[in-house]
């Protein structure tokens, strides 16, 4: 008999039982549905050991890599410490080492942390202020850099957190952050696969991290980035990204402006006119075999996900991060 640890509970698991069976027998309520590995309702994560391969059938590769598994398919091979997907791990301390305005609205915030932290560029962490106010932000740098995390924080009109970061947070100040979460990130392995990345506004943050990560790991397939904004102030890091296109032959970048009355400005700065996802999806006809990353406005993410799928991309190759535009990301 093996033991499963979930929070403070230690649950015995018999040889013929799945993790879900054992939890239910111990009267522990977790979400579940079909019990045949199809609905993925009973998604859980192993915090110590690698789950059996058979318990990860049908999961996205990024989730597999992070030791997610389906409780109903999991017959443990050793003792396991597990958690529900939304359960938070430990909190970490970090201090502000850089604040830089990228546009009047978007701030680059760089934090240094001391404790060990595993993350992939493109995942997100929750940043927490001294009084507990917390918001999720995507990581814009790759782990190759030493113990720093970069975020692009857009000032939202009534955003308590974003206004505080822009106006009051000082160099050297302390913040707490949660472990990195989310499945929208790069994994090596299919280096020749073409990548399409579409982002709006500060949805560029995870994409910028993913691109730098892919290039650093030697991705050889074509990489196409479309970054869009309604107005000029939403486009940022343009020179840095154009620099990357000169450095890497397989990297292509299209900056897109969708607002009206900007034709002259757009032509002058060499921006494409139109919405980023329209331009991207009208240009590339067949997405079979492509890997797609979509980050930013939820409507853009949902529309593009469907369109990319219809154009042949496999659902398991589409990674998304829809930014909440309500009070969550303020």
């Amino acid at each position: 008999m093996l033991n499963i640890k979930l929070g403070e509970s230690k649950i015995p698991c018999q040889a013929n039982e799945s993790v879900l069976d054992a939890l239910l027998k111990a009267n522990i309520q977790i979400p579940y549905g079909c019990q045949q590995g199809v609905c993925q309702s009973c998604l859980m994560r192993s915090l110590d050991t690698t789950p059996p391969v058979s318990a990860q059938a049908g999961l996205k590769d990024t989730l597999q890599k992070q030791n997610y598994f389906l409780a109903c398919l999991c017959h443990p091979e050793q003792d396991m410490t597990i958690a529900l997907p939304e359960q938070q791990g430990a909190l970490l301390n970090a201090s502000v080492i850089k604040k830089q305005l990228l546009t009047p609205e978007i701030l680059r915030l760089v934090l240094q942390y001391d404790a060990p932290l595993t993350f992939f560029a493109g995942q997100f962490v929750n940043l927490q202020r001294f009084d507990g106010l917390m918001r999720s932000y995507s990581i814009a740098n790759s782990p190759q850099q030493d113990k720093v995390l970069e975020f692009h924080i857009r000032r939202l009109p009534n955003g308590q957190f974003s206004n505080w970061v822009h106006d009051e947070l000082e160099h050297g100040a302390q913040l707490t952050l949660t472990e990195a979460q989310g499945s929208c990130h790069y994994l090596p392995g299919r280096m020749e696969q073409p990548l399409l990345l579409i982002g709006t506004g500060s949805g560029l943050a995870p994409l910028y991290g993913i691109i730098n990560d892919a290039l650093a790991q030697g991705h050889t397939g074509a990489i196409h980035l479309y970054h869009g904004s309604r107005n000029h102030d939403g486009l940022y890091l343009v020179d840095e990204i154009r620099g990357l296109t000169k450095q890497f032959d397989n990297f292509n970048y299209t900056a897109c402006l969708s607002g009206a009355c900007i034709a002259e400005q757009a032509i002058e700065a060499n921006y494409a006119q139109g919405r980023a996802h329209d331009l991207a999806l009208n240009t590339i006809q067949n997405l079979k075999g492509w890997r797609i990353y979509l980050c930013g406005h939820p409507e853009m993410v949902n529309q593009s996900k469907r369109a990319a799928y219809i154009k042949g991309a496999s659902l398991s190759d589409i990674y998304t991060d829809a930014f909440l535009v309500g009070n969550h990301n303020g």
């Binding site: 079909c34 045949q36 199809v38 609905c39 993925q40 996900k305 469907r306 799928y309 219809i310 042949g312 496999s314 659902l315």
Partner: protein, 129 residues
Amino acid sequence: MSETPETKSATLFEQLGGAGAVDAAVDIFYRKVLADYRINRFFDNVDMEKQAAKQKAFLTMAFGGPHNYTGEDMRKGHENLVRMGLDDSHFDAVMEHLGATLQELNVPQALIAQVAAIAESTRNDVLGR
């Protein structure tokens, strides 16, 4: 080797190729459904992964495979869509895509007919009649 009376002939699900065939079919089928302007509005606000999982469960059933679907589930699952105007024409469109998917996978006509018959048997439950 002679067949003894105990030898079972392969089930429909086995003849179609089992779970692997369902995976291949879902990929083609769901894409056809989403691209069809006659019916895609019914899928506007759904989580695509969850919907693909449901399509997989449905096709597993239509392929004669193991499933937990009941008529009551079918009714409940489509109640909202019926309220949105789901009718025979939409069911027909889905049947059309199912047939075309199987043809694309080179499934023999006789097996396609069996799958279609199982799918057809859900019509009244799906349409809440």
